[in-house]
């Protein structure tokens, strides 16, 4: 246990953290004894659907929730024993908008600066890039801001005391593709400032933008690695298949006993054959015999979503 604690390079250490809730008379296990380590300065993603345990994990690490099992350290400090010190050092942007709706943009920022014994001016450099985008609306009440502007203000408030570790719980959920791209660009620039960032997301494609990711489902970590390594770890040859009749093709592929899995991916189906040695010709010929037109079969590299579904099936099966 101590070996983690002594490592000065660790921004966050999580060891066997478990958490359950009582829902009515039944128990809901939110975290099933998870462990991982985040290096200082790393942009670390926690990727998984609703109910994976992402928020519970963040609440444990920000000292807002006590775990039943295990221990965790943030910036070398124990989340139970040193909770007061941790609260001074971390920035936390919860999934639900939690600023004061009746205060203006400026007042909210000033409020958070003040409770952390600092001022907007002192750390202006850190937030400048983001704050300038909402500065024209600084006299507007937070409750009257659009979703994208609320998100930017919340990020400024989480940054105003120059935290060493930043926790962002689903900052891009419900945000359109353009704003999501902008938000990730902001995170890349913050990373340059040396802040350790933990960010959770249900969008699989965002995993590629992190240094390392933990894929989570049902309170467990399915895999932790650099996104490109996770993609490389996909165990079977993967094929993208397309034809003029995609609906029919889906049924044909699902019913074909040589196919191990078939999932839609935009304009293609991604399929894994039961026999890894199956050739492109064998797939093409089969579909040709079924009278499909404009058949396209190509071998592709797996992406995070392919891997996530494969890991899910292995975990559940």
């Amino acid at each position: 246990m101590a070996k983690f604690n002594l490592n000065k390079m660790s921004g966050v250490v999580v060891e066997n953290i478990g958490k359950k809730y009582l829902v009515g008379k039944s128990e809901l296990v939110a975290l099933k004894g998870i462990s991982f380590e985040v290096t200082k300065g790393e942009l670390f993603g926690i990727v998984g659907p609703d109910g994976a345990g992402k928020t519970s994990l963040f609440r444990v690490l920000t000292t807002l929730l006590l775990a039943e099992t295990g221990r965790a350290w943030v910036d070398g400090l124990d989340t139970v024993k040193d909770y007061k010190e941790i609260r001074k050092r971390v920035g936390y942007m919860p999934g639900k908008f939690s600023l004061y709706q009746d205060l203006t943009v400026e007042e909210n920022l000033d409020f958070f600066a003040t409770i952390f014994n600092t001022s907007i001016e002192e750390n202006y450099d850190l937030i400048k890039d983001i704050y300038q985008q909402i500065e024209p609306f600084k006299k507007r009440r937070a409750g009257k801001l659009s979703g994208g502007m609320k998100q930017k203000l919340a990020l400024c408030c989480a940054l105003i005391h120059k935290p060493t570790v930043l926790f962002l719980d689903e900052p891009t959920t419900g945000v359109d593709a353009v704003s999501r791209k902008e938000f990730w660009d902001m995170l890349q620039r913050l990373k340059q400032q040396g802040i350790t960032i933990l960010v959770s997301t249900p969008y699989m494609d965002e995993a590629a933008l992190c240094d390392r990711v933990a894929l989570m489902q049902n309170g467990r970590i399915l895999a932790i690695d650099r996104p490109e390594n996770i993609n490389k770890s996909f165990a079977h040859p993967l094929w993208a298949v397309q034809s003029e009749n995609m609906l029919g093709l889906h049924k044909t592929l699902k019913q074909w006993d040589a196919v191990a899995s078939c999932y839609s991916f935009g304009e293609y189906y991604h399929i894994v054959m039961k026999n890894d040695d199956s050739s492109m010709d064998s797939i093409q010929n089969y579909l040709h015999d079924k009278e499909y037109q404009q058949i396209l079969v190509k071998k592709i590299d797996a992406n995070i979503e392919d891997c996530f579904m494969d890991l899910m099936n292995n975990a559940n099966g």
Binding site: P49, G148, D176, A177, V178, Y263, S264, G266, M309
Partner: protein
């Protein structure tokens, strides 16, 4: 899909004082079509959808939904459509069966129809073992499928889906689209918004709203061709980046 038009929109506009939320949009949707309604946050999608559902009276223009006029026949529209959003309207403290019975009742199904429908849905969704479980105790993916099923329990002409797949796991997300295809094959028109651009590819046609206007409307294939893009994600970014107004 046949040529019968179930949604006809002509120069439809909604103004809030000086702000034009929806600016003269025009399009038609055919029976059984899966129609993707995309746009950045604040582009006017929700306002447009509320007008089509009979929840908001337009400022000008014309539109009919399931043959009913959006100005004068909003009650008839509400009976002919189904609606499901990311915030499911299921009752968490009722069981799966009770939720189906409740929505069947709301939509005016007879007792025998409700019994038949319940049996069919529970089997179709493979929920036989869980039909008496409280909704709050079932996984999100199941809730989502159930919410969709009760939204079309009365076999409406059209179902409106407002970001139906947010937050669910990738397998559940794909299974959900299989339900959408089933509904479409049964002749139900599907009008769907999403932030997942791969899902735009699953639609028969896609419209993209920018600053209150429909900037593009075509099949995913044609849109990619026209905007010289490899994916719908690229098409969307090219169009939505042009937006001047915020949310």
């Amino acid at each position: 899909m046949d040529n019968q038009k179930v949604i006809v929109v002509d120069e439809l506009t909604k103004r809030f004082e000086d702000f034009i939320a929806v600016d003269r949009i025009s399009f038609e949707v055919s029976k059984g079509e899966i129609f993707g309604f995309l746009g950045a946050n604040g582009a006017g999608k929700t306002t447009a959808m509320r007008m089509l559902c009979g929840l908001s009276i337009p400022s000008s223009g014309k539109a009919s939904v399931a043959g009913f006029d959006v100005f004068h026949q909003t009650e008839a529209i509400k009976k002919s459509i189904g609606y499901m959003s990311q915030k499911f309207s299921l009752y968490e403290d009722l069981t799966i069966k009770e939720n189906i019975r409740f929505y069947g009742g709301i939509y005016g199904l007879s007792k025998t129809q409700i019994i038949d429908k319940t049996k069919y849905l529970v089997e179709h969704l493979h929920l036989q073992k869980h039909e008496n479980s409280l909704v709050k105790s079932i996984p999100l993916g199941w809730k989502q499928k159930l919410a969709f099923s009760v939204a079309i329990v009365h076999d409406p002409a059209i179902v409106f889906l407002d970001e139906p797949t947010g937050g669910v796991d990738p397998i559940a997300r794909r299974e959900f689209w299989e339900l959408i295809y089933d509904a479409s094959e049964r002749g139900i028109t599907v009008f769907v918004t999403t932030h997942y651009m791969d899902e735009a590819e699953y639609c028969n046609r896609v419209s993209i709203m920018v600053d209150g206007k429909i900037e593009a409307l075509d099949t995913p294939k044609q849109l990619k061709h026209r905007f010289e893009s490899g994916s719908m994600d690229e098409v969307f970014l090219k169009l939505a980046r042009k937006a001047v107004r915020g949310e």
